[in-house]
Symmetry: C2
């Protein structure tokens, strides 16, 4: 991968292995019909040639049917109906977009029915439950992918390819951040599940800090061995979970990472890898509504490459469908997701103890 290729074909689906003309689309039961599902996931599934939403699952039958009526989905059912096996012949896989602490139960039911699982990140509210989720999918013989949409974001993939190809020399450091004003700009509801430790498991770290964390791992193709961090909050609504988190990572080979995430800072996102020979920076990086820029420096030169915007959720769904219909492995699988769960829990432990914590 060189910069000319990136400029010429920045959004190439280098990961695609199957042809939508020759495989059946993957039929999804979509579980959890919050704003992200309605605004992002369902439109992406509607646009996809490799996927379709056939069953919509919500807490309320009326809501499920109402949302289904606005899509091509044939079934709108309740969570209870889903567990009871309603419409189970109408889907091949589930997309789980419920509050974090409910991921496990839907994955267990899906796996028991032999349905593949695409589970939103973080996998669950804690590592133990995430491990149960992995085990349930293994026991059911179904594929499990965790919804890290940066793995199919073209700007991030191009950055990763440049780094793997030696563009920055030996990586030395990675810096990433993601912030937004959750209460003031995104969702003012102080009772939203993201603020409930029992449902969310964590705050800014679990919700958005996982982006720089996971993308750092993806760009370096390495997992952290130790972390430390600090958490804080200013709004009373964040009494139960972190509003802001700052954490530092140590990767093998003395590569260090520094990350920041906040639900009370101006919307911003970036990730930068600095190496012995150059730097690669994606900024803006993580929010879906912004065009991506890839900022490169090497030798005496600097360049900014503007990439077209893709529908990140469609890329993610299509990647999962490609892996189900083809034979290539899923990279962000359950074991991959477990590393983030352990790392995030270690950040919280470090924040409690003022120490660096090793990641087993």
């Amino acid at each position: 991968m060189d910069v000319d290729t990136i400029i010429g074909d920045s959004c190439a689906r280098d990961w695609q292995t199957v042809d939508s003309d020759t495989v059946d689309p993957v039929r999804f039961a979509v579980i959890g019909l919050g704003w992200f599902t309605r605004g992002r996931a369902l439109p992406a599934l509607a646009d996809s040639d490799l996927c379709e939403a056939t069953v919509l699952v919500s807490g309320s039958a009326a809501k499920a049917e109402q949302v289904a009526a606005g899509t091509a989905a044939q079934h709108g059912i309740t969570y209870g109906d889903f567990h009871d096996g309603a419409a189970r012949d109408a889907y091949d896989a589930v997309y789980i977009a419920t509050p974090n602490a409910l991921h496990l139960e839907y994955a267990e039911t899906a796996a028991a029915f032999g349905k593949h699982v695409l589970c939103e990140k973080p996998m669950e509210r804690d590592t133990d439950r995430a491990r149960e989720l992995v085990a349930a999918c293994a026991d059911g013989g179904v594929e499990l992918m965790v919804g890290y949409r940066m793995h199919t974001e073209p700007a991030v993939r191009r950055a990763r390819e440049l780094i793997a190809g030696g563009y920055v020399g030996d990586p030395v450091a990675v810096d990433g951040d993601m912030s937004q004003r959750l209460l003031d700009r995104v969702n003012p509801d102080p009772d939203q599940w993201r603020l409930d430790p029992d449902l969310a498991g964590g705050g800014a770290l679990f919700d958005i800090g996982i982006y720089p964390l996971n993308t750092a791992r993806f760009l370096l193709d390495a997992d952290p061995v130790a972390v430390t961090g600090r958490t804080s909050h200013t709004h009373e609504a964040f009494a139960g979970v972190d509003e802001t988190v700052s954490f530092a990572l140590l990767f093998p080979g003395d590569v260090t990472g520094r990350c920041f995430a906040s639900h009370n800072a101006r919307q911003a996102s970036s990730i930068t890898v600095t190496g012995t020979e150059g730097t690669v920076r994606v900024e803006p990086a993580f929010f879906q509504d912004q065009d991506r820029q890839l900022h490169l420096s090497r030798g005496e030169g600097r360049a900014t490459v503007e990439l077209d915007r893709v529908d990140q959720m469609r890329e993610e769904f299509d990647y999962f469908a490609d892996r189900l219909r083809g034979s290539a492995p899923i990279l962000p699988d359950g074991d991959h997701g477990l590393v983030d769960m352990r790392t995030m829990e270690a950040v919280y432990e470090a924040a409690e103890t003022d120490r660096w914590v090793s990641i087993a």
Copy 2:
């Protein structure tokens, strides 16, 4: 300070209080004639209307005289001559640009002679010696300034004014980095003093990590209360001092900082303050040979302001001269510099102990 004003008059010397037509220039004895002095400091002094280099001091009389012959300086003397009081009527102040561990002895002599002191950063090889340096200047009744040239770098000053004026809302986080390839690109000598712990006191942290550290303090107008960090090296030449350092800071009010410095990474430098309402980023930030860019975001908007390049060393010298000839206080004084010394030593202690270390 608003963005229109910055665009219109980005490099205004808002700090200047005296008129070069009405005050005598400050006459400097320049101590230490390494490449930085010859390439940066002496040309800046030659261009200045408020300063002049009248005495050059080196380990070798021949070198001192040879360098002096290429400037307007009347005297080229040895370190021993300086301590003996040679040419002491020919200068009002000293600029100390020797290896770190020699700062104290020249400051002591200068203070005993009643000469003001502009001392390069870091102040000394350790905090105890830096405290002695402060005490010597106080005892001699002379002014002491530490050479933090970012305090008079226009891009950094404009960023600071924006932040002080509420442009980013409440600051939440600061990120800074500085890196270069010391051995491969700057100075290949494995015996250079920067690699000698007795002369330097520290490696990448003392030499360049002090830029993001001090600039973070300057931009936030706050001092850290706790730090942690990691150090590492790959080249054997860095067996005695850190080649790479990663550190995290906690400021009052739960503002967190993340910094990185390396003598073995591609030349890069930046500093970013993220707040509740916006972000301000200077990138490139610290190296003298690059034009500055101020990257701003607030609300839905983003802007990049390009600033003219100034002679940073001339700005620093002129600020010092302005403070000596006028009555305004010096901001980067000895007590200001001591905070960096204590902070950097705490980073090393944290790296040894895997802990966060409070800064007394």
